[in-house]
Amino acid sequence: MSRSVWKGPFVDAYVLKKAEAARESGRNEVIKIWSRRSTILPQFVGLTFGVYNGQKHIPVNVSEDMIGQKFGEYSPTRTYYGHAADKKAKRK
């Protein structure tokens, strides 16, 4: 069953505080968070969060298409490298 709409999205309060402080300071920094369960809100777009995966903080650049997802979805807890082959990386 999905979450009731009247409750609004869940975000840990400290994540909101940290994000607000980072935005006000205007500095280019990684906001370290442990809350994988928090929902990505529109005011997080453009910020870089370091989302803990149980071992280290994985940098997550928040973009518009990530709104509504949870932070934990972008910080896998298991490592699988695979093969590089012809895979490409794009600088955005």
Binding site: N28, T48, P59, D86, A89
Partner: protein, 167 residues
Amino acid sequence: MTEQICVGAIAGSYGVRGEVRLKSFCAIPEDIEAYSPLSNEDGTQSYTLVLVRAIKNGFTARVGGVETKEQADALKGLRLFAPRDRLPSLPDDEYYHTDLMGLEVYDTGGTLLGTVKTVQNHGASDLLEITVPGHSSTILLPFTLAAVPTVDLASGRIIADPPEGLF
């Protein structure tokens, strides 16, 4: 000799008519056929591939000169390589993982930060995994224009402006 890139592997024979089970490591799995003929690791043997159909975890394929199940069985475990120069050229700000791996990363002041180990993508932006000299753990650097302003493949170096708190 140009750099060889592993693009697939033969997992074994398929059926009794000399077809093989092929695992493709390419971003678009069907592209492995476009890089044919492929070679083995030391480049002494060449193999032409024709994909037959998709199966679970890969494809069935016909390999040039392989007509029987016994010949196909003998290829089990063979890793297939394509020369780097056979990969199509890419637009600006797009790079092959194989080109980025091994590049040295310097900060804007010219200090060596480390070497690119792998390139990862967990759904957000691409990340460069950097091995830092003197440390056992690795650092993940977002592959963005802000964090990585310069990629110089010719000189084998990357200039990075990492966010605070990353290194």
